[in-house]
């Protein structure tokens, strides 16, 4: 088809596709799925960290964490808005999340068990997210690319804050250092899994690359993350929970042990330790808030009617 060819030509020429432009239905669908999944991840991602706002050990840390979780909500908003430009409503997307039809990043189905987890999430989870997301700032769909630019700027700020927490802990009391090590032990492998299955097994790889929605392979990004992160852990004086980890001088890369893809699959399918808690919390917020949203609508309707009456009268 000519339109498809022209569309691909525009992408190949690094032009941005905008909502008013024609696009193949598959491109639209893939983007809706990916952007909404990303938005859901931001929103569900508020829960594990939100869990520690009330217990943050200093007022400064409390403020920083609260602002961070708030930023994540903001990211959710940008991304829902970007997806809405593709003709899907936020309401629809939220219902897909709550029904289980839509996914979110399974990293958020692990629990936050200590304050160090707030550091580890910032350092590792946000770190991995940035690695994944920076390329998307150059993706072919304009609204998504622009939302990601904004998000990436904030995320790298979050990542530094997370690392700073880890640094403080690993320079702190023996208990604090232990807390930091324990958090690293629990978050390291799930962070590596955030890059998705090995490229050979990845489903949406080739087409995504052609559409410039996906710009690098999972394994390449994962390797890059490992290469950046291992020296950071060394600087913290913490031990990576991977006995096979070693530096390959020749290749200039850190080689790491085998990832437990069975765990990955189980968690993606909803078997994560706190997956039920996460969905329960989201569903409860949605259900308990129904009367509020209804009231806001009803009030807006009343105001509209009154204004109309005034104009008419």
């Amino acid at each position: 088809e000519r339109r498809t060819a022209r569309f691909q030509a525009r992408i190949d020429a690094d032009e941005k596709i905008e909502p008013v432009d024609w696009m193949p239905e598959a491109y639209r669908k893939t983007l809706v799925r990916q952007i909404s999944q990303h938005a859901h991840s931001e929103v569900v991602g508020m829960l594990p960290e939100g869990n520690w706002i009330g217990r943050a050990p200093s007022l400064r840390r409390k403020a920083v964490l609260l602002a961070k979780v708030q930023d994540e909500g903001g990211h959710g908003l940008y991304l829902y808005a970007a997806a809405e430009t593709l003709g899907v409503s936020r309401q629809e997307m939220v219902e897909q999340l709550l029904s289980g039809a839509a996914k979110y990043s399974s990293i958020f189905n692990y629990p936050t068990l200590s304050w160090a987890d707030i550091g580890a999430i910032g350092w590792l989870v946000d770190g991995a997210a940035i690695m994944n997301q920076v390329p998307i700032c150059r993706c072919s769909f304009g609204p998504y690319a622009r939302a990601m630019q904004r998000i990436c700027k904030e995320e790298s700020f979050h990542q530094r804050q997370g690392y700073e927490i880890m640094l403080q802990l690993s320079r702190g009391t023996p208990e604090q250092k232990q807390m930091a090590q324990d958090a690293l032990d629990r978050w390291w492998w799930p962070s590596l899994m955030m890059f998705g299955p090995p490229d050979g097994e990845s489903q949406h790889g080739a087409q995504g690359m052609a559409w410039k929605i996906k710009l690098f392979g999972n394994d390449e990004l994962r390797q890059k993350f490992v290469d950046v992160t291992v020296p950071q852990a060394e600087y913290l004086g913490l031990t990576m929970p991977d006995p096979d980890l070693r530096f390959d001088e020749a290749a200039g890369h850190y080689r790491f042990g085998a990832i437990d893809w069975d765990e990955f699959k189980r968690v993606v399918k909803g078997g994560g330790p706190v997956a039920r808690d996460r969905m329960k919390a989201r569903r409860r917020a949605y259900d308990d808030g129904a009367w509020v949203r209804e009231a806001a609508l009803a009030h807006a309707e009343k105001k509209r009617a009154r204004r109309a009456e005034k104009i008419a009268g």
Partner: protein, 259 residues
């Protein structure tokens, strides 16, 4: 020198004031931040967090100042994390539970209307540090009051359910508003010295604002309730101890740690 004079004058009273206001904003920030991730819609997650962040910021400035006045080396964290329940000086209103969004908004509305009046008056404080903090607070409190008032109107003049919920919350929380306007010897001394307004002087404008906003929200102002007080003197309800148990647990488990 005038500064030295002020630094000594009414020091205990100024410490008491800074703790009362600082604790009040701190505890409300703690309550509000529990909504983060659980609000009726994403925009409300952000808005409630915003208010919490502003209040937390104000609390930090006030507690820091209280610690400096006291001169015993207690910083904001020492004061926030290592005082026990009876040492907290917040008003009872802010320690009341979040319950549902109606209760949260009513609590906020009652508080914001008072907070703005108070902060406005404090911008003219003879204590330059309090005046400076208040100047920052006024801008934030004005936005807060608009936010909570808009929601009072939306809920009051929304559906039958929202009206009933918000009216019930108003009836329940009204008994904690009297404490906002109680004047004791501390207040009298501070008022006489031009450091803080007499709390009683804030009531008339506050009531005026209530009348107007509640009318627009189609809500009835509660009448003849027995007012509860005591929080400002450390006599709290049963809720505060639970708030502090959570807020302080980690800091207290590692008393010598830095974070």
């Amino acid at each position: 020198m005038a500064d030295t004079d002020l630094a000594d004058r009414l020091k205990a009273e100024r410490i008491a004031l800074a703790l009362r206001l600082g604790d009040t904003s701190l505890i409300l920030a703690q309550r509000l931040s529990a909504w983060c991730g659980h609000a009726p819609e994403l925009e409300l997650d952000l808005a409630l967090s915003n208010v919490a962040l502003d209040l937390l910021g104000e609390a930090r400035m006030l507690l820091t100042y209280a610690g400096e006045l006291e001169g015993k080396g207690r910083d904001e964290d020492r004061l926030a994390y290592f005082r026990n329940t009876p040492e907290f000086r917040n008003v009872l209103l802010v320690e009341q539970p979040n319950e549902d969004f109606a209760v949260t908004i009513v609590r906020q509305f009652l508080f914001d209307a008072w907070h703005l009046e108070l902060a406005t008056a404090l911008t003219g404080s003879a204590d330059p540090r309090l005046a400076e903090i208040a100047a920052k607070t006024v801008k934030e409190a004005r936005y807060h009051r608009k936010f909570s008032t808009d929601w009072m109107i939306r809920l009051g003049d929304g559906t039958a359910e929202s009206h009933d919920r918000v009216q019930a919350a108003l009836d329940d929380l009204w008994i904690y508003t009297g404490e906002l306007f109680v004047s004791d010897a501390t207040d009298a001394a501070l008022a006489a010295a031009g450091i803080a307004p007499d709390p009683a002087s804030l009531e008339t404008p506050w009531q005026g604002f209530m009348d107007a906003a509640l009318a627009e929200a189609t809500l009835a102002k509660p009448q003849g309730a027995y007012m509860q007080a005591g929080g400002r003197d450390g006599h709290h309800s049963e809720h505060l101890d639970y708030i502090l148990a959570e807020m302080q647990v980690l800091a207290r488990a590692h008393p010598d740690a830095r974070w």
